[in-house]
Symmetry: C2
Subunit: 336 residues, 2 copies
Amino acid sequence: MATIKDVARLANVSITTVSRVINNKSEGVSEETRQRVLQVMENLNYQPNRVARGLVTRRTNTLGLILPDITNPFFPEIARAVEDTANKHGYNIILCNTDDRSDKEELYIRVLKSKCVDGIVFTSSTTPVFRHVRQLRHYKMPFVLLDRYFYDEQLPGVYTDGCQGMHEITRFVLEMGHREIAYIGGPNEAPNSMYRYAGFERALKDFGLALDKELIVEGNYKISGGREGVLELLGRGRDFTAVVCANDLMAVGAMEELKGAGFRIPEDVSVTGFDDIPMAKYVEPKLTTVAQPCYQMGEMATELLIKLIEEKPIEDVVITLKPRLIIRDSVKRVIQ
Amino acid sequence: MATIKDVARLANVSITTVSRVINNKSEGVSEETRQRVLQVMENLNYQPNRVARGLVTRRTNTLGLILPDITNPFFPEIARAVEDTANKHGYNIILCNTDDRSDKEELYIRVLKSKCVDGIVFTSSTTPVFRHVRQLRHYKMPFVLLDRYFYDEQLPGVYTDGCQGMHEITRFVLEMGHREIAYIGGPNEAPNSMYRYAGFERALKDFGLALDKELIVEGNYKISGGREGVLELLGRGRDFTAVVCANDLMAVGAMEELKGAGFRIPEDVSVTGFDDIPMAKYVEPKLTTVAQPCYQMGEMATELLIKLIEEKPIEDVVITLKPRLIIRDSVKRVIQ
DNA sequence: TTGTAGGCGTTATCAG
DNA sequence: CTGATAACGCCTACAA
């Protein structure tokens, strides 16, 4: 491929001059030579080598996107938003699936560092996030945390208020007359799982209800977790009229398993989810859930990251978005 | 960050020696110095700068993944497979969404070239693929086409036989007694759409049925396409007992619209899809469809691409996978 | 076994 | 307005 040297030679100028027109530092280049250089670049179909440029500028215009699993329907829209936004600003993204494994997260951060990405959008459900944060800081890599709420430190991050979301939907279930409410939570170590659980707990308390540990099970945020959760609950023999799930995927699994056990939804048991993944409105019955503004989260995280990278002024380094209750058909009013 | 120079200095060796141990060219390095160098690298938490290395080796260990839209549930699994496989071989991937726009495809190829990715997995539904192929060849970039069948040229590619898949499912519908079968196709310009249509056509012919153009509509591979397709069909006033859709997303849309119009599925109208996206088994009724081995496609495409890049021996440059008919609940037997 | 020196394609710093 | 020239961090003949 043609290099800057070729262009310089054919245009009868120095590479410095070519570099100037490439980078639009056109003060210092006569319009005439500028046009000539442009013409040669055109003829040669010349593309500056970003690797070489990266070596000297220490900028690659590449971002890392670390997430648990693009196959989880919660993430494609986020990934899309991140890519769109990155692209808008002239960046590309390297996609990394970690399966929520802390060792993979660490490895990816190392690799991304050695590839000199300019920054990282980091979504992790594992608790050792703080270790990775230290790693990122040590590497002096700009980063933005996404989706997984993490303590009160002022780390750059974009979140949806899981506590409020879960509080709202639980309150809705309570208002529909349910009192024996089972809960299938996320993994105990996942920070966002704790927040959602807190919202659930608070809603019960608001209604003066005691927490029944027998109706609480831990899940894994996957369909299998919903199925297993229901099996576990059924096995315990406690009655319940509603199952509140910490995400949609588990709600889908729960509904499947409940149907399989002969329950009608929502006539016999109501079910709720969280996330509002695309599937939610096509399952039967359509799932009542809490929508997270996924696209917006990805977009804001990326905008924030790029501001961090380019050292532009920033208002808030922590952005918390409001979730939205989506009422569909999976919760029935019960008469007490 | 520490560079190879720092390591060299602290280990009291030349950078050449450090380079040797980095690259395991340890013939030529005494075990003693090797250990010393390793120790210093450890202490410094040294990571070789891949950008600098890329500049001289002309290898970045990065692949481009170009696809229409990661938000389309058909692609996450492919993306996951590509990433997994790339990772296994020490590569990362840059994700690019094109929205099936030829100009975006071209732009991404250019950018990926200038970033010196080692190769590209390219999924496109636009017909001008051949133009991009020329572009890729001109850039001397290894590439593998994925999913979208393209003429008979011996271009590296991994496909699922859409013709056979559509033939099988249409035959199944016919065997269930349906004779008035509507078809909602993909975009006319999409190569794979043509193949699927051909399979549909052939199945009808096998049964001695004539093609009724009034029952054929063009879609867009999205949910909206299914909805609009049904509306269009209904508007034409022709009777039909089954709707064969060129992909699952349109089948989902079609079912929604049919239900909205008061039809029961499959009692009044049967519906089929294509792809077997995750959602397919959770819609109501569960969708009868054709499964494409997505993960395998992504995996094989990436393996092939890496062989191309690393100039390893290759058996077949074109790989065609067999689709699989998945019978669920959306097709009913009709008595004639 | 080890080191020297040149070069990969750019940008940045000077000087003219 | 233009051009040498020195980096950037690493690899790789070639020498020693």
